[in-house]
């Protein structure tokens, strides 16, 4: 797959800390780790049917970064635009890394930010893998 840009779609849920971590991780990717070839797709805007967001997700690879097993980001992209190139679930990653109760959800503490950075590195690995294919 040849791609110049990749869309990163983050969870927008507020019910668990994994949602907060997914958003911070996505921002870290966009601002610091891969600023030149990533864009974000606003999930609420996407879900109300904004054509630009849906067209982008149709034409460019997307990485869904979901907080929980409901996988709203992945499901929304696949329902309206097409298959996601990669899908990550923060809850599963934290479980795999044995990180429990990483942070309050309103504002990440040091441990939460560290977890977000680890998730961001996973997103970057997914992005790099897409670019090398």
């Amino acid at each position: 797959m040849s791609a110049s840009e990749i869309g990163v779609v983050s969870c927008s849920g507020e019910c668990c800390v994994e949602g907060t971590i997914s958003r911070i991780a996505t921002r870290l990717v966009l601002e610091k780790l891969r600023p030149n070839n990533t864009v974000t797709i606003c999930l609420p805007l996407f879900s109300i049917g904004e054509k630009g967001e849906r067209m982008f997700a149709k034409n460019f690879p997307t990485v869904a970064v979901d907080g929980c097993e409901k996988k709203c980001a992945k499901n929304a992209i696949e329902k309206y635009s097409g298959k996601t190139a990669r899908s990550l679930i923060v809850f599963d990653l934290l479980k795999k890394w044995k990180i429990e109760n990483p942070s309050p959800r309103r504002e990440l503490n040091e441990e939460g930010v560290e977890a977000a950075l680890k998730v961001a590195e996973e997103v970057v690995a997914a992005i790099d893998d897409i670019f090398t294919r």
């Binding site: 911070i24 921002r27 870290l28 601002e31 606003c42 609420p44 805007l45 879900s47 109300i48 904004e50 409901k70 709203c72 499901n75 929304a76 329902k79």
Partner: protein, 90 residues
């Protein structure tokens, strides 16, 4: 994305939409779901009303960003108190 619990929740409780930008996706999503929308706020309006505050960081809020968040939180709280005082039925 059509999650049954979420849909049931916004239809059975009074909702306040808080939108960051003029696209007002929260409000529009709630309207699409036929939710009980009782008020809506836009961060762009709070910014306009508080021009001296200039938040610059996105990922982690800076001091001005925190001040604006508090101002908005107080507005939302006042609205909740007003709605409860009026006895708007849930």
């Amino acid at each position: 994305m059509g999650d049954k619990d979420a849909v049931r929740s916004v239809r059975s409780h009074r909702c306040i939409a808080v939108d960051g930008c003029p696209n007002e996706c929260s409000r529009k999503n709630l309207e699409l779901l036929d939710a009980k929308l009782v008020a809506n706020f836009r961060v762009v309006d709070i910014l306009r009303e508080n021009r001296a505050l200039k938040p610059s960081a996105v990922t982690f809020l800076d001091e001005d960003g925190r001040k604006l968040a508090r101002i908005l939180a107080e507005k939302i709280t006042s609205k909740i108190d007003e709605l409860n005082h009026k006895g708007v039925v849930s």
